[in-house]
């Protein structure tokens, strides 16, 4: 997993609530046996019409907006457990997703992919969306060590929660497998005493 420390970037606004993982990456694109290439089909049915033409009204097709931060509406990532959703967002080039509420499985999958989910208050989310809508060139700054998301030009900032273990993993690029393997003796001891 890639390390994540700080990020300064413009952002892409997606002010839609309850964005489910079937929208992020429709099931028909889950036939791959590797992790790569899902970004091509990120939000496919919102991004392209049935003839494969880009829909000009969808934000990823709007040349005004770009950047490594996706700012989305409440309850982002609900539905299917497909980690492909996090891979698609990451593969497209995003490194951070901001929302006022994330579905549990998506949040875990994002953290395991190296994509930082930042949960902020609904009012701060609305401020961020106004900022990016008013000026698509607005720069956002993410500081994982200090758990802070800021819009320096506007003097706005809010801190966010992240589990200390997951934070350590992201800062260092570690994943859970190495850690779990290091516990092998304890796992064997657990199996030993566990009733059948």
């Amino acid at each position: 997993m890639e390390k994540f420390t700080t990020l300064q970037s413009t952002a892409v606004p997606l002010p839609i609530e309850n964005v489910d993982t079937d929208q992020i990456i429709p099931a028909r694109f889950l036939k791959a046996t590797s992790r790569e290439g899902f970004g091509e089909n990120l939000f496919c049915d919102w991004r392209y019409d049935s003839n494969g033409q880009a829909r000009p009204d969808f934000v990823l097709n709007n040349p005004l907006y770009s950047g490594k931060i996706l700012i989305a509406g409440r309850n982002f990532g609900s539905g299917s457990s497909r980690e492909h959703a996090a891979w698609a967002i990451y593969d497209y080039g995003f490194r951070v997703v901001v929302s006022s509420f994330f579905a549990d499985i998506f949040k875990g999958n994002a953290l395991n992919t190296g994509l930082l989910p930042i949960e902020i208050s609904e009012s701060f989310l609305q401020q961020l969306l106004s900022a990016v809508h008013a000026n698509p060139k607005t720069l956002f700054r993410v500081d994982l060590e200090n758990q802070e998301l800021a819009v320096p030009d506007r003097g706005l900032s809010e801190t966010f929660e992240i589990h200390p273990y997951k934070k350590m993993c992201l800062l260092n690029g570690y994943d859970d497998i190495d850690y779990l393997i290091s516990l092998k003796d304890r796992i064997l001891a657990f199996e030993e005493q566990k009733p059948a």
Binding site: E17, L30, K31, D104, D176, L180, R186
Partner: protein
């Protein structure tokens, strides 16, 4: 202070508690399928790791398989590759694999219980959000992502934050025509799609006590649709009777010992929950969804809300536009194009029996394509034995072979753009059943009656159905 059933099971599986309260949870059973496992197997190979406990891992092919001609090679090359990759990986890593053609093949959440692999008190995971289905047996079962699939393969453990505890109690007697699917759609319509987030749910009360195991599986299956990590129901005699005699269930003395342990699992009377909801069974009516998430449900005789009655106005507008519906309208009389009876929510033998009772000697409406996809080969075989498949065919339903099928439209079973499908599955998301497909979620009862009528109706108005309601 007493413990909830969830705490009893979780606590019995904690290998270690790390700084910050994160827990190492031991997993008893790991189900895998072709879609979310290939990258996890690659991860093991990349690191040169063996699969730690292959004997606790079971594989089947379900998401991506055709539901016609399963004895022939899969026509779609990508699907074929994915299904073949699972088979090869299982051979390489020593995992039991119920692939296409195997008598135990089927939807992973249907075969686990029917084979007796799913047993009370277990921790069960699978790279699929509907793993919550197994909670019907009093298990802690939940869906995971592919990175976590790799973790369980490597160590039989996961690093997790303990979810909060929620109890949803429904007491009283449900009215005619109300099935387990209606009960869970009703609950989700009340809590919303994020109402259970961060929680593990216990369903309690008369309504769940009186349900069959199939009904309990339908309820627990959809726990994820309100955002919950999982949902469970305490095991009782109904549970023990279901498990007894199944292929991988304990037998003889071992079964009696197991039952003695299972009886210790129900929540203690003084156990405390973080969040509680109470509903009255008498308030629940047959349900149907009108929007693009499972929380957007109304009673079959109800009206779609007006714009000023909903909080997420933009979402509501977008949803209705996608569905081609207007605020305030009733769905009764709406013409439909497809009926899909299947999925890990409602594809078990009990569901097929119910549908057969309703359509016996009748014929589906001419404007409707009706498809039945049994949850497993065993369900399909049982249906054949009981003559159910014959009844359904004579009524004009297509009888398919086992798989996830049009629930998620990964294979060729897709609903065409703009067309309406009444479905017994679990999700009505935009494009879920195919790009542009429009889904109404209902119980198998409503699906069967609607297939006959070709339009949305209230099954309770048919006098001849009195004995099935």
């Amino acid at each position: 202070m007493g413990k909830t059933i969830f705490e009893k099971i979780w606590d019995a599986h904690v290998v270690a508690t790390e700084k910050g309260g994160i827990e190492v949870l031991y997993i008893d059973r790991h189900f895998i399928h072709e879609v979310t496992s290939p990258q996890a197997f690659s991860e093991l190979e990349k690191r040169g790791l063996p699969l730690f406990r292959p004997e606790q891992t079971v594989a089947t092919a379900d998401h991506n398989v055709p539901t016609w001609n399963q004895h022939l090679p899969i026509p779609d090359p990508l699907s074929r590759k994915q299904v073949n990759t699972l088979e090869e990986n299982c051979r390489k890593f020593g995992v039991t694999h119920y692939g296409l053609g195997h008598p135990h093949q089927g939807i992973v959440h249907v075969i686990g219980p029917e084979l007796g692999i799913t047993q009370p008190g277990m921790t069960i995971v699978c790279g699929d959000s509907h793993t919550s289905t197994h909670g019907a047996f009093g298990t802690v079962a939940f869906g995971i992502g592919t990175s976590q699939v790799a973790m369980v393969m490597a160590s039989q453990c996961l690093l997790l934050n303990r979810p909060k505890k929620m109890r949803i109690t429904v007491n009283g007697q449900t009215g005619p025509g109300v099935f387990p699917k209606d009960v869970i759609l009703y609950i989700i319509s009340k809590l919303g799609t994020g109402g259970g987030t961060g929680h593990f749910v216990e369903y309690a009360g008369d309504v769940f006590r009186n349900m069959s195991m199939e009904g309990r599986m339908t309820v627990c299956n959809m726990s994820i649709e309100m955002g919950a990590r999982g949902g469970l129901i305490a095991p009782d005699q109904t549970t023990f009777d279901y498990i007894k005699g199944r292929k991988f269930a304990p037998s003889g003395e071992a079964f009696d010992q197991a039952v003695a342990y299972w009886k210790t699992l129900p929540s203690d009377e003084d156990a405390v929950f973080d969040t509680e909801y109470h509903f009255d069974a008498a308030d629940i009516e047959p349900m149907i969804t009108y929007g693009t998430n499972p929380g957007m449900g109304i009673k079959i005789t109800g009206r779609i809300p007006q714009l000023d009655e909903v909080s997420s106005k933009e979402n509501f507008r977008k949803s209705l536009e996608y569905m081609g519906l207007q605020p305030g309208m009733s769905l009764l009389g709406k013409k439909i194009d497809h009926v899909f009876i299947g999925s890990c929510t409602n594809s078990r033998i009990e569901d097929l029996r119910l549908v057969a009772r309703i359509v016996k000697g009748r014929r589906k409406a001419a404007n409707v394509q009706a498809m039945i996809v049994p949850g497993s080969r065993q369900v399909a075989d049982q249906a054949r034995e009981e003559g159910i498949d014959q009844v359904l065919r004579e009524a004009g339903f297509q009888m398919r072979e086992a798989g996830c099928s049009a629930c998620l439209g990964m294979n060729e079973d897709k609903i065409p753009p703009g067309e309406y499908c009444v479905s017994t599955s679990n999700r009505n998301f935009e494009g879920r059943q195919g790009p542009g497909a429009r889904t109404f979620l209902v119980s198998p009862l409503l699906a069967a009656v609607i297939a006959l009528e070709g339009r949305i109706v209230d099954a309770r108005t048919y006098a001849e159905l009195a004995d099935v309601l």
